[in-house]
Structures are given as structure tokens and as C-alpha cells.
Symmetry: C2
DNA sequence: TTCGTTCCTGAACAACATGTCCAGTAACTA
DNA sequence: TAGTTACTGGACATGTTGTTCAGGAACGAA
């Protein structure tokens, strides 16, 4: 039941096996559909052992997701500093690269497996980062937003999560750098620009949302 | 087990009670956590009766979601025609209004309850609508997109779903009309415009995504 | 290498949820 | 009113869950 760092080799091996087994099974058949016995079977571990480490399926999943978040947070400060001093947003390209490395777990999270709590936390994290970054930037420049920043942050978060999900679930043919650049341009300059219209074609030219 | 339209009053009442009970319980404690017995208890229906109508929890949820989609589709053509002949996109304001009317069920769907299949279908539906609409519009105007339209469609869908989710889950203080207008402006003109900068401040002024 | 500790294991257990079946009773439609 | 259909509680087999325990194996430290 202790989820602290593991000094014993047996503990490390057992947990790693259980985690990998869970991720594989979830991607295959969905979190809801799998049983603890199937997990331990695939991990080649006694069922009793499972309960020595985790309370239930959920607990195991939470552990996996927490480690993923820690891994991401661990490398973040360095990436941040390389780009801008005091920058408070989440470096998007780094997120896509991290998702590429840990594609399986990102799929599990972004599918909302395990009641979707992990996805909700990820979403809220990004949104909070974004809103504070937007707020800091507009105040720094002394401009008054035409659209409330909570709305801007939610929409931006939606774009990011939506594209990221699509990207890890399909072979889109875009690299992390490409998709990041597209997302940035589209989000910053809008659909009029992105679709190749001149400002004079707008407004209304791409108003697909009556 | 027959899920066809109900002629018998008893059938209508039973199904309505079961559906309402499921939605309430799901919003309260999550789909995974509730049992069939709890559903029938709250609906004040015998447990055996449940299985006379639905195979399991999932089946009941699917029925609810299918009815929601049918309800939305039923009114869609009229709304569409009122705005633009041959318009193929999803009228966003109408979606928000529909979500406001059926807030409880939209919450269930947008939370990804019940393994998230309903949410995924909703997302894909919107994305397909959007991409075909963007494609038709750019071809009609003979412009070459700066950003691939599959990317644009995914990002736009993310904005819509993200904002819609946030809107039905919180008291944001924005009306359906307001949030729709914000979403449209932000998406069409981009963050530079939305935050009140002039074009000369860009590029980079709001590039929060290194 | 040895020794004391910790972990893994299979088996057995009670508790609970699921899905099915049935026969009696009530509610419905025509 | 009569004939059909739906609802009901109860009982049942099945499968999953989470706990416990005692023996044996693997571990880290000395």
C-alpha cells in the first residue's frame, strides 16, 4: 500500500509490470472492461500482490498519471528558462514532444479513461497556466481585452487538448514542431488568416457559426 | 429489451423514470460508481423491470444519448435554412441553446461518462461538419489555406467543445448568445485581435507557445 | 556468505453486483 | 369487459472484489 519510491528491486519490477499491463489493457479494451485479475495475469504477478501495492484499479491508474505529471514538471523549468524569463505558460512544443515520448499513457489520459478525472486535471492545469499568462501579458502591454480572458483561456485550452488528442490517436503526418507551429499561428492570427483570406474578405467570410 | 417507440403508458413512464434517475445519479457520483439497483431504487421501479428494457447501464445511457442527438438533429434543418442556404456547418448558437435546455444530459456527455464513447462521437460529428464547411468555403472563394484544414477543423472543434463544457459546468455569467459571439470572434480573428493588440504589436506579442 | 527482513504467492473467504427466470398481480388498449 | 402486456419480488448461478494468512523466495546489509 505504500506508493513511495521503491528501494527494493522486487517492488520496482512488480510495479513496473503492473503499470505496463494496465496501460496496454486499457488501450486495448478500455479501463472499465478490464479486471484486476487480467492485469495481474498479464503482468505475471499474483493477485494478492496487486492489493499489497494498490487499493484498486483506479489507484494504479492514478499512480501512473501522477508519475507522468511529475516527469513533465521535472523537466519544465529548464525548458521554460530557455525561452523566456518569467514565462508562466506551458511550452506547447514541449508538451507535444513529451506526448510523443509517452504516447501510450497520454492516450489513456486524453481518452478520459478511468472516469476522466486525469483528463480534467490536465485540462484545468493548462487552462490556469494559460489564463495567468494571458493576463500577465495584456497587463504588461496595458491593453484592454476585447474578449474576457477566461473565455480566451478556455478556448485556447480546447484547441490544445483537441489537437493533441487527435495527434496522439492518429498518424496525422505532422511532426511535433509542425503541429505546434500550426496551432500557434491559427490561435494567434485566427481562421481568416489561416485560411488565406485577406482582412477585406472578412468579416463574415468565414463566419461558419451563425 | 425493445427500445422502439413506446405505445404503452406504463412503458413510457418506466423508461422516463429510469433515464432521469440515471442522469441524476451519474451527475452526482459518476457513471462507474452507480449500480443498477440504485437506479431502479431511485426510479422506484423493480430491478427485474430494468432488464426488461435495457441490457445494462451502458445500454440505458446509450438510449439517452441517442435521443438527445435525435432531438438536436430534428430541429437542425430549420435552423440551418434560416441562416444560409446550403450551409453545412453546425450552427453554434443553436448548440449552446440546446445544451442550455438539456443541461443535465449535456453534462453527462461532455464529462465523458460511460467510457467516453458519447463524447467522442459528438466530437467527431462536429469536426466532420466543420472540416467540410471550411473546405467548401475556401474552394468557393478559391483561396489556398495557410494551415491544413484538418488541423483547422480539429482546433476549432476543440475550442467549441472546451468552451461548451466549461459553460455547462459553471455559472460563467455569459448567455448563449454572448459566448457564441465570443467564440466566433476569437476563432475567426485570433488572439491578437481578441486581446486588443494592433497588428503591429504582433507577431510574437502574444506568442505564448514557444 | 550469512542473516534478518521484506516481498511474493496461492488459496480460501465473505460481500456484493450482475443478469436471468418465474409465477402472481396490476395496468393498459381496444 | 376481455385479452394482452407490463411490473413485481424473490430466488438463483456466476463473476468480481478486497482481505487474510502462512510458507517460501528474494533482497540488502554486514
Amino acid at each position: 500500500m505504500d506508493t513511495k519510491p521503491a528501494g527494493d528491486r522486487r517492488v520496482r519490477r512488480t510495479r513496473a509490470a503492473l503499470r505496463q499491463a494496465l496501460v496496454e489493457l486499457v488501450l486495448d479494451r478500455g479501463f472499465q472492461a478490464i479486471t484486476v485479475e487480467e492485469i495481474t495475469e498479464r503482468a505475471d504477478v499474483g493477485r494478492a500482490t496487486f492489493y499489497a501495492h494498490y487499493r484498486d484499479k483506479e489507484d494504479l491508474l492514478v499512480g501512473i498519471v501522477r508519475d507522468l505529471a511529475e516527469d513533465r514538471e521535472r523537466l519544465l523549468p529548464a525548458v521554460r528558462q530557455a525561452h523566456a524569463e518569467g514565462f508562466t505558460g506551458l511550452p506547447v512544443k514541449y508538451v507535444f514532444e513529451h506526448a510523443e515520448q509517452e504516447k501510450a499513457v497520454y492516450r489513456v489520459v486524453l481518452r478520459g479513461e478511468g472516469d476522466g478525472r486525469a483528463l480534467r486535471e490536465f485540462t484545468d492545469l493548462i487552462c490556469a497556466h494559460a489564463e495567468s499568462a494571458f493576463r500577465a501579458r495584456t497587463e504588461e502591454l496595458g491593453v484592454v481585452p476585447r474578449i474576457p480572458l477566461d473565455v480566451v483561456a478556455r478556448a485556447w485550452t480546447g484547441e490544445l487538448i483537441g489537437l493533441l488528442t487527435w495527434w496522439v490517436e492518429n498518424d496525422t503526418g505532422y511532426s511535433a514542431a509542425e503541429i505546434t507551429a500550426h496551432l500557434r499561428d491559427l490561435s494567434v492570427y485566427g481562421r481568416v488568416w489561416a485560411t488565406g483570406l485577406t482582412p477585406s474578405d472578412a468579416p463574415g467570410a468565414l463566419d461558419l457559426t451563425p
